[in-house]
Structure formats: structure tokens, C-alpha cells
């Protein structure tokens, strides 16, 4: 790509909000047929930059050049017509409409009197779907598709225009490994057609697998572009956070305590069957598997959100029945849920109220809430977990993902649980905060908590766990100690390959 002109070029883009410089003189270029990663911690300015590209925000300075022409965009439709197309992390599809209607939403081909030209619509859609090699057709109802296939619909939508640059924003966040492969094929296809691709992701393995170059933002400033083939994770991370990161394995060096939680033959309909395991005090047990392997459902059962169809749960050797979160909390089981904002936090409340939510009733003084006691608890756990917030009155919605997660963790720690279940502890959290959360989980184990970590990221599971339980389609395939586990054996286990079959 020597003398070619870039598919998309940014020159000195600056965007300020009252009191904040969200983007400061950002310049880089994406060549046609290039997969260009854009990386940065949360708050580094990626989303703002995307909104500028999408015509949602107007830059205060700088210009955007598509192909040879300067592009000025005042709304998303204009951006699309200039050939800049987005595949968003959060899908925006009308579930009750067909695939074809979704793809051509707002620009349905018409006959006379404004009637929809269904024949043309379905023909055009099927032509695009053929290119993507997907297993559904133009008439399928979008609501009936899997998340991965819905994403394909979004991609198909992007292909209806003559796209110069396609921007993928965390496209693999909710995909299984198999679905990722399909997505990467599609991206490779686009690239071979000479489209410039901006790929935004926090996941290093993906970045190194599919991108050609990596541009990094930090604090709204452009920090440089690296050739993917000539760099490594450490260099990129350092550029992103301005320091080095330790991601080695981390088994316990302390003595393990008694068995805090034991599960025998637990089943829940078709979601998971005959699951048995135990967690000791001071131990981190990692649950690894593909999306849909039944890990989250086990956590929900232990927390009283689902009734098991068979099996027993024992705490400290005594059989218990947990039929609601109230029971679970009373027994000392806590859950840090997968969807932090949807299930863990009350976004419209302040930090303190979120932290003390499960125990306002225990803390109350007479009929009234105990403000002082609550602030004391907040202060204690803010210091303990290093939560960065101006004060307890700050609304949690204004905190970064990492700090929000610490509020959820602090909420449970302040209740002194015996078992802490953490589902996807670092989903959507930037690299710097990630390692903080990991260290925190290790610390908690060292303090004697029994911790269950559910994660879809292998490096994370390997990093924090003393033992790893590998699941496949609702069953425990194998349990590894941190000494014996290898990446290969783990991948085989979660893909349904047992050691016997291999041998």
C-alpha cells in the first residue's frame, strides 16, 4: 500500500466539551484493504472519535477525508452515504421485522403509490446474504436469529452502500469462538475487496490475529501507530496505559481452608446437568467455557435466581436450600453479575447508596436510614478497593467501568460473605483496570474468601484461578489444577473433546 491514497484519513481532529478536551489533534489514516485496530482505555476518546466519524458530533477542528474528498457529516445517514459504515457493539435491529426489512430500513425499494417492492427487496437482500455465506434468508424474522447472526444482518446492512470504511466496535463482545471465526472470515472478505476497516476491541488476541496496524489513543490524544507484525502485547499495552502490565499466572501461595461450598449433581432442566464441584476458603475456582455452556446459569442457581431440578448444595458441609437472592445473601453467597449496569447497579443512585443497597435495612437506626454508618462503610471500601470517585454523592453512572465493578464488589464485601461469585469480572473494562480487578480477586482469596470466577477469556481464567472447571454444553468436562492446565487441554475440554477421545 505505497502510493495508494487512504480509504479514510483523519487530520487534526479536535473535539471539546465544556471543561474537557475529549479529542486533541487526532490524526491517522486507514488504507484500503487494511484492518486497522483502534485501541485505548475506556475514556481515551474512542467513542467520541466514532461519533465524530458517524456525524453525531461535529469536530471543533480538523477534517475527515474519505478517498480523495473532504467529508463533512452532520448526521449518521450522511456518514453512510459518504461510505463510512458502523457495525455497533449494541445491535440496533427491529426484532419483529424480517432480515430484508431491517437491512433496507428507511430505504425500502418502492413501486408506484408508495407500495413496497417486495420482489426487488428480497432479491437484493439475498444477493448480499449470499456474499456473506450465512445460513438464513431475507424473509427470516430477525428476532429468531442468534446474536451472531443478528450481527451479520448489521454487516449486510453496511454492504448495501459502497462502503469505503467499515468500523467494527467491539464486534466479538457477545460471540462464541465459532461465531468469531465466521466474523473474521467476513472481515477478511471485506478487506480483499479493498475496504478500509477500523477494528475497535479490548481483546489483544483478536487484534494480533486479524489487524495490520494498531493506532492507540490515550487521554484523547493520538499516541502512535504500530505495525501489528512488528510489535507485541506489552508494547501496545504500555502505549495505552503508559506503564507495564503483569499478566503472569498466579496460583495461591497460601494454605487453603475448609470446603465452603459444595455442589453435588446439580441440574437445571436443559441448561446444565449433573454438575459437581467444591470451593475451599482461600481458593479461586474459574469456570471456563463457551457462551451457553451453562456457567452463568449455575451462578444464578447458587444465588437463588433459578430453581435447580435436581442435586444438592452444601455450605460448610450442611445442605441448604436457596430459593431467592434473599436466602443466598443470608447464607453468605454473593453474586457480581455479568451485566454490571443491568443487573448489578442502580445507575441513577449515588455510590454510597449502591454500595449499601443490600444492607440498608440492617444498618437502619430506628425507622430511619443510617447515613453516618453508610458513609463509613463506603469510605472503608473505597479505600480498600481504591475506588476512584470524587465522593459518595457521585452518581455511579458517571464512573468508569472498572470503578463501577469495584462498587459492585465492595457492595458484597461489606456484607462479609463466605462465597463470592464473579461473572465476567472484566467485561467491558479497560486494560489498566482489568489487572486491578484481577489482583483484587487474588487478594480476596488470600484473605480467605471462597471465590468463583466465570470468564470467557482464557488469559483471565488462567491468571486468576487456582483450579479451573471446564464446561461444555451444560456439563463439567474436566477440572484442572493450575499446575496441570495447558491452553490446549483447556480448549479441547470446552470444545467437548475428552482426553480419552484424543488419545
Amino acid at each position: 500500500m505505497t502510493e495508494q491514497s487512504p480509504a479514510l484519513r483523519l487530520e487534526g481532529i479536535t473535539k471539546t466539551f465544556p471543561g474537557v478536551k475529549a479529542l486533541d489533534d487526532v490524526s491517522f489514516a486507514v488504507m484500503p484493504g487494511e484492518v486497522h485496530a483502534l485501541m485505548g482505555e475506556n475514556g481515551a476518546g474512542k467513542s467520541t472519535l466514532m461519533k465524530v466519524l458517524g456525524g453525531i458530533y461535529q469536530p471543533n477542528a480538523g477534517r475527515i477525508v474519505v478517498g480523495e474528498e473532504q467529508a463533512v457529516m452532520t448526521n449518521p445517514l450522511e456518514a453512510k452515504s459518504k461510505g463510512i459504515v458502523f457495525i455497533h457493539q449494541e445491535l440496533s435491529l427491529a426484532e419483529e421485522l424480517s432480515v430484508a426489512e431491517n437491512i433496507y430500513l428507511g430505504e425500502l425499494p418502492r413501486k408506484r403509490f408508495g407500495m413496497v417492492d417486495w420482489t426487488t427487496l428480497y432479491a437484493r437482500t439475498d444477493a448480499i446474504l449470499d456474499k456473506l455465506k450465512v445460513g438464513f434468508n431475507a424473509r427470516t424474522r430477525v428476532g429468531a436469529l442468534s446474536i451472531a447472526n443478528q450481527q451479520m444482518v448489521e454487516i449486510a446492512r453496511a454492504l448495501t452502500v459502497d462502503a469505503k470504511a467499515v468500523i467494527f466496535d467491539e464486534p466479538t463482545a457477545s460471540l462464541t469462538d465459532a461465531e468469531k471465526v465466521v466474523l473474521f472470515d467476513v472481515i477478511a472478505d471485506l478487506r480483499s475487496q479493498g475496504v478500509g476497516i477500523i477494528y475497535i476491541s479490548h481483546r489483544m488476541e483478536e487484534i494480533f490475529k486479524i489487524t495490520d496496524r494498531i493506532s492507540v489513543l490515550r487521554d484523547g490524544q493520538y499516541r502512535g501507530t504500530l505495525e501489528t507484525a512488528q510489535t507485541n502485547e506489552d508494547e501496545v499495552t504500555q502505549l495505552m496505559i503508559g506503564r507495564k502490565l503483569d499478566l503472569s499466572r498466579n496460583a495461591s501461595h497460601h494454605e487453603l481452608g475448609d470446603v465452603a461450598l459444595e455442589v453435588r449433581g446439580l441440574s437445571c432442566g436443559t441448561l446444565y446437568q449433573d454438575v459437581s464441584f467444591e470451593v475451599r476458603r482461600g481458593e479461586v475456582v474459574g469456570f471456563y467455557g463457551l457462551v451457553g455452556a451453562g456457567r452463568t446459569e449455575i451462578a444464578e442457581t447458587l444465588f437463588g435466581l433459578r430453581d435447580p431440578s435436581a442435586g444438592t448444595i452444601l455450605m460448610d458441609g450442611e445442605e441448604v436450600r436457596i430459593s431467592s437472592p434473599v436466602d443466598a445473601i443470608a447464607r453468605g453467597i454473593s453474586l457480581v453479575p455479568e451485566d454490571r449496569k443491568g443487573q448489578g447497579l442502580v445507575l441513577g443512585m449515588n455510590c454510597r447508596d449502591n454500595m449499601t443497597l443490600p444492607q440498608v435495612d440492617d444498618l437502619k437506626a430506628g425507622p430511619f436510614v443510617a447515613d453516618g454508618a453508610e458513609i463509613a462503610i463506603f469510605d472503608q471500601y473505597r479505600d480498600k478497593l481504591d475506588i476512584r470517585t470524587p465522593g459518595w454523592k457521585q452518581m455511579v453512572r458517571n464512573l468508569s467501568g472498572g470503578n463501577q465493578q469495584k462498587i459492585v464488589i465492595g457492595k458484597w464485601l461489606s456484607m462479609h460473605p463466605s462465597v463470592l461469585i464473579v461473572d465476567e469480572p472484566t467485561r467491558g473494562i479497560d486494560v489498566g483496570s482489568k489487572s486491578e480487578i484481577h489482583n483484587l480477586i487474588r487478594d480476596l482469596a488470600a484473605q480467605g474468601y471462597a471465590v468463583i470466577v466465570i470468564s470467557s477469556e482464557m488469559p483471565e481464567v488462567l491468571h486468576v484461578s487456582d483450579r479451573i472447571v471446564a464446561m461444555y454444553q451444560g456439563r463439567v468436562m474436566r477440572s484442572f489444577t493450575s499446575d496441570e492446565v495447558t491452553e490446549d487441554s483447556l480448549i479441547q475440554a470446552i470444545s467437548g473433546i475428552t482426553p480419552d477421545k484424543v488419545a
Partner: protein, 333 residues
């Protein structure tokens, strides 16, 4: 100044600014247009205004907590009418004849109990069936109104008890009985929502129900308690008002639910729940009553009043939305 401070100040203070604006406008306009010589901001007039705010205002306090909790109650007007009938009718029941004036607390108690019971029924259905509160209370609105008509047909129910009328018309420290009830209810609900566990949990449930469940909060009982409170307050509003007027038509209290919701929404409580303030609702109640009274003062008829209030409601919510959107953009970086 931090981004968002100005807009959040405007949002919180908006209703009081609006009230001041109304006072100025009606005082000035009154100079030229008024039918009487009396100034609009005459003390007696203002005291009367507070008293007239009471029926809607007392119910609005209940609606505030129900809406913060993420629900709504459309049956308050019907509960209001039914409680009024129970009050006035039971005063004449032969079995209470021997009680003398002691029948008054008994009748009050019965009317209030009916309110609590109907509210509890609403709450129980919402809790146990999971059907949306809008639908449940829409049904209840029709059903309870049906009970009102079954009671006495199209006939008004009337009874004047002079001890009761004297109590209702009394003024203590210049304020009417109804005003005292309004102030007491406002204070009580304010304490409930800001100082108690129930209030805190109501906000949490309204804001993110799933997170509240995951924090071990029993969502159902909290919602049911709130429906009982609003049922009680709808009945209390009726009891206070009809102690004085002594006659209730089966159609009384119709559209009250909409006036109440208008006041609550004007005060800034969100229809989706999770945010809102009792004090602002009080402002919303005053603002509406000021408009009705002020427009009457300068000679507008009822239909004009309704038109203007409708327009202002939409304008206020539009403004609120603009401020909200602006606040969000400033924060999202």
C-alpha cells in the same frame, strides 16, 4: 462550574421558578383584566389556594412514591369517590346512632380502611400476576367506579354533620384544616422517601428492578405497601374534602388521576420511575392550582384553563427533555 450543574439546578428549581413566574404574571395581568378589585396575591386568596390544592395534593404525594417505584395508579379518582360515599353514608347508619359525634372517627376510619384495602388489592394483583400497573389500575379504575354506582345509582349521597363541618372549616394559625392535612402528608411522605429504608428501596426498585432483586430487596411487598399508601391517601383526601361539602356525586373524582399525574410530572418525577421528589410534587400541585385560580382571576373559563394547562404540561416536559439531553451530552465523553 462542573458540566451539568447548571442544567441540574434548572431542573430541580424549575417548578419554583415557574410558580414565581405565574405569581408575577397573574398579579400584573390581574391589574388590568381582573373581574374583582382584589389583588391576586391577597393573603386570603393565597390561603384559599392552599386549601383548594389539598384534594389533588394529598393524592399526588401518594402518586409520587408509586411513580418513583416504577408503577402508576389510575384508580385514585374512583377510590376517592368510594371513600367519600362510605364516609357520608356510614355517618347515618342506624347501628352507629348511639355513638353521637363519636361516629365521626368511626366513619373516618372506615373510609380510610376502604382506601387501604382497595390499594392493597391493586398492589397484590400487580405483585402476584406481574401485569403492568397501568393495566391493573386501569381495570381497577373502571371496576371501583362501578362499585360507586352500584352503591347509590345515579343519586348523590349526602349528609351534613355540623361538628364535622366545623372541624373542616376551622383555621389554625391562619391555615385551613385541609391545608394542614396537605402539609402533614407532604412532610410524612418526604420523611418516608428520604429518610427511611422503604423510601431508599422504592427509588432503587424504580431505577433498576433487576439490580434491586439481586441486592436481596423484596420488590413485591414494597410495591404493595406503596399502593396501600396511595389508597389511604386517596381516601384521606376524600374524607377531608367531603367532611366539609357533605355531598358526593357518583361522578366525583373523575379525571383526578390525570390531574394528580400532571402535578407529579410537572414536579419532575419520571414516568419510568427511579427519580422524583416529594417537594417538587408539592410545587407541581401549587403550580396547577395557581394556574386554575389565576386564569379564573383574569376571566378565563374552565375550558380555556384546561387548554392552557395541557399546553404548559407539554412545554414543560419538552424543556425538561432538552435540559436532560444537554446534560447527557456534556457528561458522555
Amino acid at each position: 462550574m462542573k458540566p451539568g450543574t447548571l442544567s441540574s439546578f434548572l431542573k430541580r428549581g424549575a417548578i419554583w421558578g415557574f410558580i414565581v413566574l405565574e405569581l408575577i404574571f397573574f398579579s400584573l395581568a390581574g391589574e388590568f383584566l381582573a373581574l374583582s378589585d382584589k389583588a391576586f396575591m391577597d393573603l386570603d386568596n393565597m390561603l384559599l389556594l392552599l386549601k383548594q390544592s389539598a384534594p389533588i395534593g394529598i393524592i399526588a404525594m401518594g402518586m409520587t412514591i408509586v411513580m418513583i417505584n416504577g408503577n402508576i395508579d389510575l384508580s385514585v379518582g374512583a377510590i376517592f369517590a368510594l371513600a367519600a360515599i362510605i364516609l357520608l353514608d356510614s355517618l347515618t347508619w342506624p347501628i352507629f346512632a348511639g355513638l353521637g359525634d363519636w361516629v365521626i372517627p368511626v366513619s373516618w376510619g372506615m373510609a380510610l380502611l376502604v382506601g387501604v384495602a382497595l390499594g392493597a388489592l391493586n398492589g397484590l394483583i400487580v405483585w402476584k400476576t406481574g401485569v403492568d400497573a397501568f393495566i391493573v389500575t386501569l381495570g381497577a379504575m373502571l371496576g371501583y367506579r362501578g362499585l360507586v354506582f352500584m352503591y347509590n345509582g345515579e343519586q348523590p349521597t349526602s349528609h351534613l354533620n355540623w361538628t364535622l363541618v366545623d372541624f373542616a372549616e376551622a383555621q389554625f394559625l391562619g391555615l385551613h384544616t385541609a391545608t394542614w392535612f396537605l402539609l402533614a402528608v407532604t412532610a410524612a411522605i418526604w420523611v418516608l422517601m428520604t429518610r427511611t429504608v422503604h423510601g431508599r428501596n422504592a427509588y432503587a426498585i424504580g431505577n433498576n428492578r433487576e439490580a434491586a432483586v439481586n441486592a436481596g430487596i423484596r420488590v413485591g411487598p414494597h410495591m404493595m405497601i406503596n399502593f396501600m399508601i396511595i389508597g389511604f391517601l386517596a381516601a384521606l383526601s376524600a374524607v377531608v374534602f367531603y367532611s366539609e361539602s357533605g355531598s358526593v356525586n357518583p361522578n366525583d373524582g373523575q379525571l383526578y388521576e390525570l390531574w394528580v399525574i400532571t402535578a407529579v410530572v410537572l414536579g419532575g418525577t419520571r414516568l419510568t420511575g427511579g427519580a422524583g421528589s416529594v417537594i417538587s410534587t408539592f410545587g407541581g400541585v401549587l403550580a396547577i392550582q395557581l394556574l386554575r385560580k389565576g386564569l379564573g382571576h383574569i376571566g378565563a373559563d374552565t375550558s380555556t384553563v384546561n387548554l392552557v394547562i395541557g399546553l404548559i404540561l407539554i412545554a414543560v416536559l419538552f424543556l425538561d427533555r432538552q435540559l436532560n439531553v444537554k446534560g447527557k451530552e456534556e457528561l458522555k465523553i
